[in-house]
């Protein structure tokens, strides 16, 4: 495996990692926004509010109906208990969001570094244009009398 292959493979992995962590971060931002809205309702929050919030995620295709059902199964019935539960959820998500933010920043940096190496390689040694006729050229037959 050449240096080019190693660098290119590493860069592709890093690009994929950025895409993945970016999606997770976007999802986390949306969830935090929804939790923030619910927290603002204070003790007046109801299970219906929570249900409406989560249905928006289901409609957007970000959460499966099964995941939504499991989540709703954990939601307390009572108003004050529900408000406390949402607060606790929000606190937990804030922590997770911070971790995701750091992971995304690191992934971005890794992508930048491998992009530098990839570019340096390509700038130093421009790629050869693939020759169409090279593929069309007949493969020599080792059994032919000429090659014997």
């Amino acid at each position: 495996m050449s240096i080019q292959d190693v660098v290119a493979r590493q860069h592709q992995q890093n690009v994929a990692q950025v895409q993945r962590s970016g999606q997770q971060l976007g999802m986390s931002t949306d969830i935090l926004g929804a939790l923030d809205k619910l927290t603002r309702l204070g003790a007046n929050v109801t299970r219906n509010d929570v249900m409406e919030s989560i249905m928006q995620f289901v409609e957007a295709g970000k959460v499966s109906p099964k995941q939504a059902a499991i989540f709703m199964g954990q939601v307390p019935m009572q108003g004050p208990a529900l408000a406390e539960w949402i607060k606790a959820k929000e606190a937990a998500f804030v922590q997770q969001h911070q971790k995701l933010t750091q992971a995304h920043a690191q992934a971005n940096k890794n992508m930048g570094v491998t992009a530098l190496h990839s570019l340096a390689m390509m700038m130093g040694a421009p790629a050869q244009v693939p020759q169409d006729n090279a593929l069309a050229a007949p493969t020599p037959n080792p059994m032919s009398p000429q090659n014997a």
Binding site: T101, N108, V113, A120, M121
Partner: protein, 487 residues
């Protein structure tokens, strides 16, 4: 008995082996194929040559044919190594080009166009491969940590961009250096590189509204849209200086800044230990000063002796006092090694130098007042390093300086003199025994305040002591906000 002179003898052993050779060779060839398959490295998909050669030599079927086989393998290895070396050299050119773009593009809006312009001369097929990677590099440099893109009108975002830009520029410069020796140094010329033209090779000039390209090739950043020829290259000496200073800012400068911050933390601990010793009251065995360690050891031996005799505890020297001075002595030694490491690097030093370093930092062998003075001096030394870093960070972000640190050190030294920091250290020296500031500077008018750093303690004619606030200090009104000195 066979006739030895018979012209048609029966075939001897040598001839038998010779007649079998093609059969053995065929079997060996088949065996070689199997061995090659088992020697493939699953991570790379390539044959592990060392493993393969070992297997060929140890297999009875193939050992006899190993010579030419190994020779072929070695040739393949050599040609692969040569190819890798060529690749490494070619990559160096790319690193050099990238470092040039990164060092000279303080405007994030221009980064993508600068990189694109750099690769414009490559074949179209190469450009097709490069463009997505350029996009990914730009995305990496302009992405906000929490999502979204950096805002060039936001100073904090700009600071982050410049931090990333310099870090990436240093990475590329280091890679170029690894392949070519000093980046941009005369060594490149010796290897056939024209440093000035290859590092700052002109790119196609800007296109006028009419579509015609200007005759003079322009380096995109800094052309300013003004008519007439524009500067397309920097003098090799200037370019070298910019590169060296930027590298120093990213490597040595950052290390020095980190060391200075750590040093301040350790001095805080030392100061605290001294306060603890003083607070526990005077004692011959535990007072800081000459032969502090020997006196402490004497006190500890005395206590041990009393304990072994079963004497009541009230006759012992307060163990807490001994503990405090012991802590201070330990801290002294630790500081000596740490400071030496901060200032001189982690080389092996002669014992005498280590001892000198330990003696130069505040420690238990100093009188309490002397120790206060030394602590302040070291704190100010660290503070000046921190201020210098802040100054340089602001300097490099100032559009007037085009991302170069040339002149920053001189400007800093001119305004923020070492004397001003030393004066602040002296004036802040508090006698731990009396709580007074015996070395505060006497002033007679408000005008006198202007020559001191904020935080310097002065004494008015009526005997009042005052810490100079930033608005009365004549220093610290430049591009950095100085802290108000040690509390």
């Amino acid at each position: 008995m066979p006739n030895p002179f018979d012209p048609t003898p029966l075939p001897g052993p040598g001839a038998t082996i010779n007649s079998l050779a093609p059969v053995l060779e065929l079997a060996a060839r088949q065996r070689l194929g199997t061995l090659a398959q088992t020697a493939v490295n699953p991570d790379t998909g390539q044959i592990d040559y060392d493993k393969y050669v070992g297997a060929v030599l140890s297999d009875p079927l193939t050992a006899g044919f190993a010579g030419p086989q190994i020779n072929q393998l070695r040739q393949a290895q050599v040609s692969q190594a040569q190819k890798a070396a060529i690749d490494q050299g070619l990559m160096g050119t790319g690193y050099k080009d990238l470092a040039t773009v990164l060092y000279s593009t303080p405007n994030p809006y221009e980064l993508a166009s600068m990189l694109k312009a750099r690769v414009a001369s490559y074949p179209a097929y190469s450009q097709q491969l490069m463009m997505p990677v350029i996009g990914q590099l730009v995305q990496s440099m302009l992405a906000k940590p929490g999502g979204g893109m950096l805002d060039p009108s936001n100073p904090n975002d700009m600071a982050l961009y410049n931090e990333r830009r310099l870090e990436f520029a240093n990475i590329t410069a280091a890679n170029a250096t690894q392949r070519f020796g000093a980046f941009g140094a005369p060594g490149l010329v010796a290897q056939g590189w024209d440093t000035a033209s290859s590092a700052f090779a002109p790119v196609p000039g800007p296109v006028t509204p009419g579509g015609a390209q200007t005759k003079e090739p322009a380096y995109m950043y800094g052309s300013g849209g003004q008519g007439g020829p524009v500067q397309t290259t920097l003098a090799p000496g200037t370019e070298q200086t910019i590169t060296d200073l930027a590298k120093n800012y990213g490597d040595e400068g950052k290390k020095q800044y980190d060391n200075a911050v750590n040093m301040q933390g350790r001095l805080f601990t030392t100061q605290n230990d001294l306060d603890q010793v003083i607070a526990r009251g005077p004692s011959f065995f535990t007072n800081p000063g000459t032969a502090a360690e020997a006196r402490m050891q004497l006190g500890r031996a005395y206590n041990t002796f009393l304990q072994s005799m079963g004497a009541p505890e009230k006759y012992q020297i307060d163990p807490a006092k001994i503990g405090s001075i012991e802590e201070l002595i330990k801290e002294t030694k630790l500081n000596g090694f740490n400071f030496m490491n901060s200032m001189m690097g982690a080389q092996r030093e002669a014992a005498s130098i280590v001892q000198q370093a330990i003696n130069s930092v505040p420690g238990a062998n100093n009188s309490p007042l002397g120790m206060e003075y030394l602590i302040n001096t070291w704190k100010e030394l660290a503070q000046r390093m921190i201020d210098q870093r802040r100054f340089e960070t602001n300097w490099i972000q100032d559009p007037k300086h085009d991302g170069s640190l040339i002149g920053a050190k001189e400007a800093f030294d001119k305004t923020y003199t070492p004397e001003a920091y030393a004066e602040r250290a002296i004036s802040n020296t508090r006698d731990p025994l009396t709580g007074q500031y015996p070395m505060a500077y006497k002033v007679t008018s408000k005008g006198d305040l202007g020559k001191y750093l904020p935080g310097t303690i002065v004494k008015y004619p009526d005997g009042r002591l005052q810490k100079i606030s930033p608005q009365y200090s004549g220093i610290g009104l430049g591009p950095i906000t100085l802290n108000a000195g040690n509390p």
